[in-house]
């Protein structure tokens, strides 16, 4: 599996309702062997209704300039973080979540 295959894929809740697209993959950094930077374990999917903006970072650590943040945050839709454990199945058509995910 490649990161590029998951990104941009549609996400559906257990009833088949579309929640949005995979905007990013949130990983947890764990200690790796000796000198290495660490191991990245997939922890959650960051799901959004929009396509472009997550890359600019305004959903996360990016705060300024204020006008850009305002414009980009003001667009409809918001980021939803779905834990990887809530993923029931995934295929080329999309990702389906389990009952417990809430959505």
């Amino acid at each position: 599996m490649r990161a590029g295959e998951l990104l941009g894929r549609p996400v559906f809740d257990h009833t088949g309702r579309r929640i949005g697209l995979v905007a990013d993959l949130r990983c947890v950094q764990e200690a790796g062997p000796h000198s290495s930077w660490g191991v990245l374990r997939l922890d959650a999917l960051v799901v959004t209704e929009r396509r472009v903006t997550p890359r600019l970072g305004y959903g996360r650590h990016q705060r300024s300039p204020a006008l850009l943040r305002g414009v980009l945050r003001g667009l409809p839709g918001q980021l939803v973080v779905v834990p990887w454990s809530a993923v029931a199945s995934w295929s080329a058509e999309g990702i389906r979540l389990t009952d417990s995910a809430g959505g």
Binding site: L7, D24, Q29
Partner: protein
């Protein structure tokens, strides 16, 4: 616990080798299920066969076609750098191997041997 958003903080960053030379970009990342079934990042995927599918559309198809013509290794698997070789992630990604050891980019070597290396002064020290 540190979290990393890999699209925002890892993909498309520059990869530097042990000597600080530029190697490639993080064109894509490979994930494989760990012992507990949760996917773990196992490798950096490099080159047009990694980037092409991400581009999609016509440019992606062109890049794939070009890549399969130029490919040194057959099949669809792009060259990879095991993720364990990564020593740091900052504005670039540091790897504890040299460019030659990684050998992720056969085309660079080809251009060097057949075109640039043949021009006079190609080994002249930079400044």
């Amino acid at each position: 616990m540190t979290t990393v958003d890999i699209y925002l903080q890892l993909l498309d960053r520059q990869v530097l080798d042990r000597d600080g030379r530029l190697v490639c970009k993080v064109d894509d990342l490979e994930l494989q299920p760990g012992p507990d079934g949760v996917p773990v990042v196992t490798a950096i995927l490099v080159g047009p066969r990694a980037l092409g599918p991400r581009l999609g559309g016509r440019p992606g198809r062109w890049m794939n076609a070009l890549a399969s013509r130029l490919a040194a290794t057959p099949g669809d698997d792009p060259p990879r750098i095991p993720f364990g070789a990564v020593t740091a992630v900052h504005s670039a990604v540091d790897v504890d191997r040299t460019r030659d050891e990684l050998a992720v980019d056969p085309l660079e070597g080809w251009v060097e041997r057949h075109i640039i290396g043949r021009l006079p002064g190609s080994g002249h020290a930079g400044g």
